[in-house]
Symmetry: D2
């Protein structure tokens, strides 16, 4: 309650809380009265209290994400995708082109990144782009190429789904569905992906707090899909030397609050290839369960985000250091 709240106002709030079937526990301080509300957080109750006369603020004590949080699920979740474990001892490296451009491109990349140590192949089929004049992806043709690359290399495949009408289609080709940063609060899509039951990687939105991210994961888990991988890919700040600001502290923060695995995307977050290796190594040192890196045989001619792609050689050379760092903190890669 605010400092000037009257006894009557205090009483009226207490009555309102009781009317929702919850118990109260008032504390009468020197300058202020605090009313403890006991029971499960009921969002609407809390929201409505806020407007009552004399109420200064409402402070929730319980985590609002019941299933994504560690409180009700202390053990870490390990997700098995075609034999590759994400969230376990080993750091899972996901690599591939930003966008699938052609069979030649994909078939050059896939075996190469596998040889270098990647465990999952990425490749965009549907590309959400800030400008409508940018390349938007090859669609289902790209999905077919990804499936073929999986057949040849044995690498499970991850690709983004952007349309709730496409979830089924994409699921028939992909091993992991990706929900992109711009769609992190596209709840229609989250619900559809949740219903699909397919393993999913959910990217943090550029202005989403960790709490928002976990609530977005909750949208999918309550549909029955608990195979959710979270991905830190940079947040929007004032700094312009990087596309976004990679928030690596979010990795140990999320691992404390949630049991879900956390992957870092050093490519989209920085937007510049010379930053990908240092940020990948840093991500592993910070405890990430995986990294997702964009590679391209010829970044200068890439149809999408060339400036942030590693060459196949750069990726291979980075993997050597990455494995060494993983081993220091007791992990493989």
């Amino acid at each position: 309650m605010s400092s000037g709240a009257t006894g009557e106002q205090v009483e009226s709030v207490i009555e309102k809380v009781h009317s929702f079937g919850l118990r109260t526990h008032p504390i009468y301080g020197v300058q202020k009265t605090v009313i403890g509300i006991i029971g499960d957080e009921k969002t609407r109750v809390v929201e409505n209290m806020q407007g009552l006369p004399g109420v200064e603020s409402i402070i929730p004590i319980l985590q609002p994400y019941k299933f994504a949080g560690r409180e009700a699920h202390p053990d870490p979740t390990v997700i098995d995708v075609g034999g590759v474990k994400i969230g376990g001892v080993d750091v899972a490296v996901i690599a591939g082109p930003c966008a699938v451009e052609s069979e030649e491109q994909l078939m050059e990349i896939a075996p190469s990144v596998k040889k270098s140590g990647a465990r999952v192949l990425r490749g965009g089929a549907y590309k959400p782009r800030t400008s409508p004049y940018s390349f938007q992806g090859l669609g289902e043709e790209a999905l077919k190429l990804l499936a073929r690359a999986r057949d040849e290399t044995g690498l499970p495949v991850i690709t983004e789904v952007t349309d709730p009408r496409n979830v089924e289609l994409v699921s028939t080709y992909a091993d992991i569905l990706q929900v992109g940063a711009r769609n992190m609060q596209n709840f229609v899509l989250l619900t559809e992906v949740g219903k699909s039951g397919h393993p999913v990687m959910l990217k943090r939105g550029p202005s989403a707090t960790v709490k928002d991210l976990l609530l977005a994961a909750e949208y999918m888990i309550i549909e029955g899909n608990s195979d959710v991988i979270l991905c830190e890919r940079g947040i929007t700040t004032f700094e312009t030397n990087t596309r976004n600001t990679l928030d690596l502290s979010a990795v140990p923060v999320i691992k404390q609050l949630s049991h879900l695995p956390v992957v870092v995307d050093p490519s989209h977050s920085t937007g510049r290839s010379f930053l990908v290796e240092p940020m990948s190594l840093a991500a592993v040192a910070a405890g990430a369960d995986g990294i997702m890196v964009e590679v391209h045989p010829d970044p200068d001619s890439a149809l999408c985000d060339g400036p942030q792609a590693l060459t196949l050689q750069q990726f291979d050379s980075m993997m050597v250091k990455l494995r060494a760092i993983a081993s220091i903190i007791g992990r493989g890669a």
Copy 2:
């Protein structure tokens, strides 16, 4: 080019530009060489240049949004919705509940806000909520109630569409489709709304620059829908006293860059009812073409965002001042 770029690197960039059919115009400075590229901006060309050896940065000169920008369309766009003009001399006030809750609620609000001076009725049928445990809206039932309210009051109706599969359905009831802030870069939805040809209000995403907003509008305009109203509704910052930070400077900034009308939402941006009147008046003083305000007969029992709703009386009293301020800058309301 970077300071240390060799003559060879300069030549190689120039050749590459020519290979795209564009002309170059190099400037040889004391320390650096700058290569002017003449021709329409072709996004992919620009992106690819960035990776070439010796290239320091690419600075686009032309606006990337051809149809949303003022350069190619100097006159302001005025959108006519059932006789109400948005973007014209009068400030268009949009009011109504955050969410449609019941027939009684809506039929109490609609005639009241009309009497106070609102020109358009708002009401949420599909509510995107950060938490899956919050009220998600009444769906089609709400759409029907909105249509009934329009029939009774003559106020055109705006409501949010969140699912590309629902665009047609929502269009049969609503006069203006709203694309919410969280969906500003849901390009699948933008495309579908663009195709519908229905007037649309596009809300600025919480981490979207003005440029991003105009590019999102571009997605709809290139589908043939030029009846796009832009809405400033606050951006994400570090300040916690308000839900978001209302960026009122964006109003004159957008009006300089674009011909599209601009509306301000003082309710969602601030999240607190005591801020709605001062921010509404400020929005009109700053040159907004409209405001969108949430009202509720009993905010304390609202199913959604009660703390930011004005009572019907508060709204009426605010409208008196709003009209007076509009008249000072030569507008009606």
Copy 3:
């Protein structure tokens, strides 16, 4: 306490609180225990609790700024500077050049802005500039010119002080000392200005929350100086069309939390002259107690921040509208 906190941990926290001479009031909930601490907030106590085993978070209930806050001082503060009242019924308009450049410049500006309705004359003598290669101000020479302009026009004078060693010197010339945004947490300077007892305008730092701003004011008030004017001048965000993002909602927010007057600077916040009029009018509509505007007879040849300066004619024309808007919300100007 965190969910898994043991009874022993709860006891140990309670004992620790008691050892500081404070009372406790525990609430045992279904999943969590909350320990209310009763007594004045003692910062160090609070900080130390945070590390104890089982403690999840500390949530302060009382405002941490005792003297700047409204809780202990409900009535608004009105500051009288040479007969001009700031924080009273009238909106106080402060105008003048970014930097004092010459006697001619200042003597052309001062009588002109007075005639247009300004009540206080601003002018920079010591200019903190991001780059060491920018014009840094005329120093004491500028102070003398400001004093002369006051003598001729009767307008009290405000100028920035940047060096604790100069507070006395600047105080001999200026009627109001200004502490700039970059120095908002320069506590050495705040303390010195607080000791001077001179009226002061404290500008909000670009990454300061409203709470940080009020705590900075507290630094001066506890030295005995309660004549503190707060100034909103924009915060740092990702938007690049304006130099900073003017946070106009902060005006009513501050007025709710604090009794101190609030002034808005539309010039530095936006950095662009075409935004100054709309943002000035918006600031008055939002309830600001004053605005501070930069004017220059010839902005194109200004030594400092020309792009954001109004011409004398633009300022005069703006004042007409500003007074009209002030009158609508029951104020003069």
Copy 4:
């Protein structure tokens, strides 16, 4: 020039540029004219152009920091402080208490961190605190204790200077002066520290871009002090799980733009002790030249920032991993 600029306007800008003794190089495009200006960037010239009719924007091509930038100084700077090299092959670890509290405290910490591998001892004597009610440091007494600790351990000492009047005093005790984040744009202090010629660590302000940081370093270098160490310590964002958001990408970004050494502070940036180890390891993996860590024998009773302090044991155990990671990227520690 803007799209609608007339030939006359273009001519008039060209003439103005010539009047400053600079050469021009206009490019006449399909829709726009771009005027290249050749010569050293003269800040004031650039600023003044912005206001001319027809001018749309000014885009600087040269780095504005001449001495802090790599363009004019390609080789990395290595700073020698009492035999400890910062910016060389080895990662320099700086450790010690947030604030010097007593002789016992410091004499317990100093030999312990030395044994664990720290090369420099930190300890606050003058503490800038957001609230005036927080502990403000022991002042000169703390400086004497630091000097004594150096004498006993051989570790050079770093401490913050907050007052330009104290630079000489602090310099007589400390080996490295620290300019805190809140004072990064306290140009009066920067100038005084620059004149002192003493090695200095400059912390990035919470809303400072990398460019702002390098310009602040420039203020000291032009006074003749080139022994400047830069420190990334987190920027202000919307995320609330950490005090600030540690921007680790800034490490390789700064090393590309500047020759100065870069140190990371994982304690102040995160504000939480469980994040210090992962962020320290990540900083080294990202290429930092050093880290600065807060340790305390009993964090729960610390007078300042206890929640972010490591115990002596935690620090020792972290150093083992840190050295191993350093060796993987070819460095010692």
